[in-house]
Amino acid sequence: MATAVHGPGKITELEPFAPGHRACSGCGEALAVRLAAKAIGNNAIIVNATGCMEVVASPFPYTSWRIPWIHTLFENAAAVASGAEAGLKAMEKKGKIPKRNTKIVAFAGDGGTSDIGLQALSGALERGHDFVYICLDNEAYMNTGIQRSSATPYGASTTTSPAGKESLGQTTWKKNMPAIAAAHDIPYVATACPSYHRDLMKKVTKAVETPGPAYIHILSVCPTGWRCPTDDAIKVGRLAIRTGIFPLYEVENGQYKLSLSLTKLEPVENYLKTQGRFRHLTENTIKEIQERVTREYNKLVELSGKSGGEASS
């Protein structure tokens, strides 16, 4: 038996999301779920949309979930979460069950969030349910075989936005889901990435402790779909943040706050060249992406005022 180790910065040994799931090797999303689950703790109910994390975690008769978990359909995680939250609150109010402050947490992929589940999510955020919604963004429909979603970045080659003589791959810019969530005037929105694991857990804890709806958008590196080595998920995630392609920030009661002070962004090329999905990009397209990323990042800096801070990794 392993000896218990004590340390001031030690991460909880709690593992509501158990090992033994069937995610691909090097999966950044399974790591995101594991870290988020640690922060969520045991007093929670997980509502999972259809997608990679549902498939890999629940092949009957096995389950990776040590806390109550429900999966029903693709586009309705936020709506199921609404019902579960309202049901618990109503029964507590009527004295049918003891008051336990159980948190409802919904997980869905980028397709389940920014495409097919957007309406249900918008409804649940607008109604103000006390729940956390976590989008696990691996930037395409990976579960069905790497098809493009509205969260797929510009220039990425996927099976339904293939690069070819007449196309550079995805021809649209990534939908800004965190901004859409923030536009609902909910108390807490944040972006995170398992490459910055303490930052991720801190944000999930904050979301869980926030009364009302909270939205966290987690960039989850997918070596299978992004065409990168399976031991590179952490590195690639870190580059996404250091290049400003996926900035880490929070929006608390409408106030934007960058989580990292980056004095200088690394060139986007450093990130793009790590992945086969961008292999075909020309210098011109890379320049176009660089300009867009710089512009968008500067907007965020402006929105944040001078409140940027250093995230520990």
């Binding site: 007093n43 709506a79 109604r127």
Partner: protein, 391 residues
């Protein structure tokens, strides 16, 4: 003693949900269901009903929220119609397969296109195979009684299935009828508190909705089928018990003036009321005509149907929906299939009528019955005829 008073059926249905002490109502407005959910919102706003009211952004979310609420063990109610029911379609399968008892009243309405807010049974028949218990009611009192019965049936541990109570849009939802609303104490006597056996509960974690590989999917579906078939016993038992407490008893197929009749008409829902008047008139004219009113649609009451038609020559079936390019009406084709193996069976003549709110008058029913008798004698070029259509 409960008193009988004039009530709008939709209001009475909402009152029945309140009397059933629902915990969660989740609904999206659609004509002609609106008065039901409006009145429930009022009851919650006034503090008469202690429940969470979730005004969702679509019917898909309405049913999804019902699933979530039911999964944590809450008693859950919703109502919809037509396009709303169709938008819920995939979630309906989830609610039944994952064994969530809840009651949904469907204000039966025609499906688009063309858009029609008026009544028929297209919506109900389109969800026939979703694994729900489906009860068709004929009047306001039946609607009220079956909402309460619906909770008792669905929540029974031998059943654990969702229940649809079908009441015809406008013809029932928007009329004022004399209705006896049960007393709260009697409802409490009839309907025990809901205790879902394995809710989502951090004290006892469960995984719901796991991935069903080929090695288990068939068994899950078989278990679901057996369970729904067996639910019929609980439906019958609940209706009997209801009778003991409230004095009104229901049956899967109700017979009206069938004694000695060689020709029977079969109807569902509110049109049965007009059909009864037509039967009365024809009986007065010396014709041996009777009526069967099919109340329990799923699980289908095979035994009761076979018994009810064993001595007759002609069964005329009115469908208020079309199975396009197929046998005409889903009810008629189901009945034909149910009787196929019987040694002695009546001729089954199918009519489709009353689509999209088209009325069938007393004289209309008489005409349909006479035409049915004629077809039984001479045959028809078609599998079925549409009553009253202008060609």
């Amino acid at each position: 003693m409960a008193k009988r008073e004039g009530l709008e059926v939709s209001v009475a249905v909402a009152d029945a949900a309140m009397l059933s002490d629902v915990d969660v109502v989740s609904a999206y407005p659609i004509t002609p269901q609106t008065h039901i959910v409006e009145h429930l919102a009022e009851l919650v706003a006034n503090g008469e009903l202690n429940a969470a009211y979730i005004p969702v952004e679509s019917e898909h979310s309405a049913m999804s929220a019902c699933v979530g609420a039911s999964a944590v063990g809450a008693r859950t109610f919703t109502a919809t119609a037509a396009q709303g029911l169709e938008l819920m379609h995939e979630v309906l399968y989830v609610a039944s397969a994952m064994r969530y008892p809840m009651v949904m009243t469907v204000a039966n309405r025609a499906l688009s296109a063309p858009i029609s807010i008026w009544g028929d049974h297209s919506d109900a028949m389109a969800v026939r195979d979703t694994g729900w218990i489906q009860i068709f009611v004929e009047n306001g009192q039946e609607a009220v009684d079956n909402v309460i019965c619906g909770f008792r049936i669905g929540e029974d541990k031998r059943v654990l299935l969702p229940v649809m109570v079908h009441l015809d849009g406008f013809a029932l939802t928007h009329v004022i009828e004399p209705i006896e609303l049960p007393e709260k104490k009697d409802v409490e006597r009839f309907l025990p508190p809901f205790k879902y056996p394995l809710p989502l509960d951090p004290e006892k974690p469960v995984t719901m909705g796991a991935l069903g590989s080929p090695f288990i999917y068939t068994e899950v579906k078989w278990a679901q089928e057996i369970n729904l078939e067996k639910a019929k016993d609980v439906v019958l038992e609940s209706w009997q018990e209801f009778g003991k407490v409230f004095g009104r008893t229901y049956s899967p197929i109700e017979q009206y003036r069938t004694d000695g009749a060689k020709v029977l008409l079969l109807t569902m829902g509110s049109y049965s009321e007009t059909a009864m008047v037509a039967v009365d008139k024809m009986r007065g004219d010396g014709k041996e005509i009777g009526l069967l009113k099919l109340r329990l649609w799923r699980p289908f009451p095979y035994e009761e149907l076979r018994k009810a038609v064993k001595d007759i020559d002609v069964l005329i079936v009115l469908d208020r929906a079309v199975s396009f390019g197929g046998p005409g009406g889903p009810v008629c084709s189901e009945i034909k299939a149910a009787l196929y193996a019987e040694e002695k069976r009546p001729q089954v003549i199918g009519f489709v009528g009353g689509l999209g709110g088209r009325d069938i008058s007393m004289a209309g029913f008489e005409e349909m019955i006479n035409r049915g008798i004629e077809i039984a004698r001479t045959g028809s070029e078609r599998e079925f005829e549409i009553y009253g259509v202008r060609e």
